[in-house]
């Protein structure tokens, strides 16, 4: 169970990107987080595994507090939080198998990491998961030889290798073509129920959010303005979230009020 309460994040003296956000995710539900660029979706996700330092507030995963962890404690907590990225974030020059096994880096020691001598159980788990998503035959291919959808599958498997208690997906389909992104959404949905894993997905595409997730959370300017079932997500909710901003399905053009926040979102990546 993930409990976020009164989460605040501000960069320097700017307007806060997240304003006293509260969110509770129970059981193995798939939750999508929608909102315009700069609404704070990515920052919220990165606060959970502390790639971004929250300014204040509390984040509890299965009862343990994550916000003030340091060093080894933080790394132990991160092992239990899988993350899937928009740009896949694979190491292009390494093989698919090495990328997948990277998910075990929090468990193995440095010597094992350097020599790539992972325990037999990890390798079996890797093959099992890769077969599940259909990339096992690529094990010894270099990651940059794969197509976008296949690369994202590697990203998903890497996150699952961590034996996570929760999976975070930051715009997992934004770099993919429509058909492939449907496949990835379907995959995340079915993996969540197979592994009884809660999944948080940042997503631009409202139609996909409604189709593949059980709950939609809408963010605007760092505040939650919608939280409910896909069936309740109607025109008003859409307008409340994206109002004054161009339609979500289109490429979002930054409006002046958002550009400042969008700028700071760029900073997040550098600081993380």
């Amino acid at each position: 169970m993930l409990e976020i309460s009164k989460l605040v994040k501000r960069y320097g003296r700017d307007e806060p990107v997240l304003e006293e956000l509260d969110l509770v995710v129970e059981g193995s539900s798939v939750v999508s987080i929608v909102g315009a660029s700069g609404a704070g979706k990515s920052t919220m996700l990165r606060c959970i595994n502390r790639l971004v330092e929250p300014t204040s507030g509390s984040i509890r995963l299965n009862g343990s507090e994550l916000v003030n962890l340091r060093g080894r404690e933080l790394r132990r907590a991160r092992r239990k939080i899988g993350m899937v990225f928009q740009g896949f974030n694979l190491i292009d020059r390494l093989t698919v198998m090495e990328n997948v096994l990277a998910g075990r880096l929090g468990y193995v020691n440095l010597f094992q990491a350097i020599t790539r001598r992972y325990p037999q159980s990890d390798i079996e788990r890797a093959f099992h998961l890769m077969e599940r998503v259909g990339i096992a035959h690529y094990a010894n291919k270099r990651a940059d030889e794969l197509s976008g959808g296949e690369r994202q599958r590697v990203g998903v498997v890497r996150a699952l290798m961590q034996e996570p208690e929760i999976l975070l997906a930051d715009e997992p389909t934004a770099s993919l073509d429509p058909r492939t992104s449907e496949q990835i959404m379907k995959l995340l949905q079915s993996l969540a129920s197979e592994l009884s894993l809660p999944v948080l997905i940042n997503i631009h595409n409202v139609a996909q959010a409604k189709t593949y997730t059980e709950r939609i959370v809408g963010l605007r300017h760092g505040k939650m303005i919608f939280d409910g079932a896909p069936a309740d997500f109607n025109k008003e909710a859409l307008d409340a979230i994206y109002g004054g901003i161009e339609a979500p399905e289109e490429e979002l053009v930054e409006t002046p009020s958002n550009s400042a926040e969008a700028g700071t979102r760029g900073v997040t990546h550098d600081q993380a």
Partner: protein, 272 residues
Amino acid sequence: MTRPEVSGSPSVPRTWRKPPFIANPWLRYGLWLAVIAYLIWAFGSLPFNWERISEGLPRAARIFGGGFPPSFERWGLLFTGFKESFQIAILATLLGVALSIPFAVMAARNVAPLPVYLFGRAVIIVSRSFHPVIVAILFVAAVGFGPLAGILTLTLYSIGFVGKLLAEEIEEIDWGQVEAMRAAGAGYLATLVYAVFPQILPRQVGLSMYQLDSNLRASAVVGIVGAGGIGGTLMNAFGRYDYDFAFAILLIIIAVILVSEGISGWVRKKIW
């Protein structure tokens, strides 16, 4: 996306090893063996004078002890040395860059007849193969101690460096302009001046700045073998165990090189 055939047998191998960098095991272990054999041979065959080396640390202490604080008392000598180095660098750059143009034309396959081309290439290869200090020692033997040997050395050095880059540049020029000139009835020289040089001159100005910088560096060392400039002063200071003066010279050399690198970089950025 080319999807390779999934291998016929359904059971994917359950063990995994990182595919080695070199696939052929004979070659891989052979290479390791060769490297080890080379290291043993190289270390074994080099004449180390361990007795003399063991005296090194106390000597180093004495040298650095004698060198601090650096003494700028004989600043007159310092100034004369640097002035001469500057003069050598400036005159050599001017001569070298000017002379590199005919040599570059000679060494460009598309504008020079074969015998001339071979001669031009040979000059450039020879002047690039020899370290300026070796050239300097020969010129000192031929024309005597002093800045003349230094100027000749660095002129040759500049011809080698600038000439090579320029020759490559000429070989890559837009041939259409040359044909246009020929069609207009221009002679060989006129073609060179109007169709070839305008295409390479912008590059030449930047290269001259770069070469001035690198000649200044080199002029500090050709003096060590007697070709004038601050290097001679440094060599004398070392020879007379005037370590405090030697360190003063070194500090100024470093400062001058940093300043000249900065200026040269700034000018090249302005021009390009």
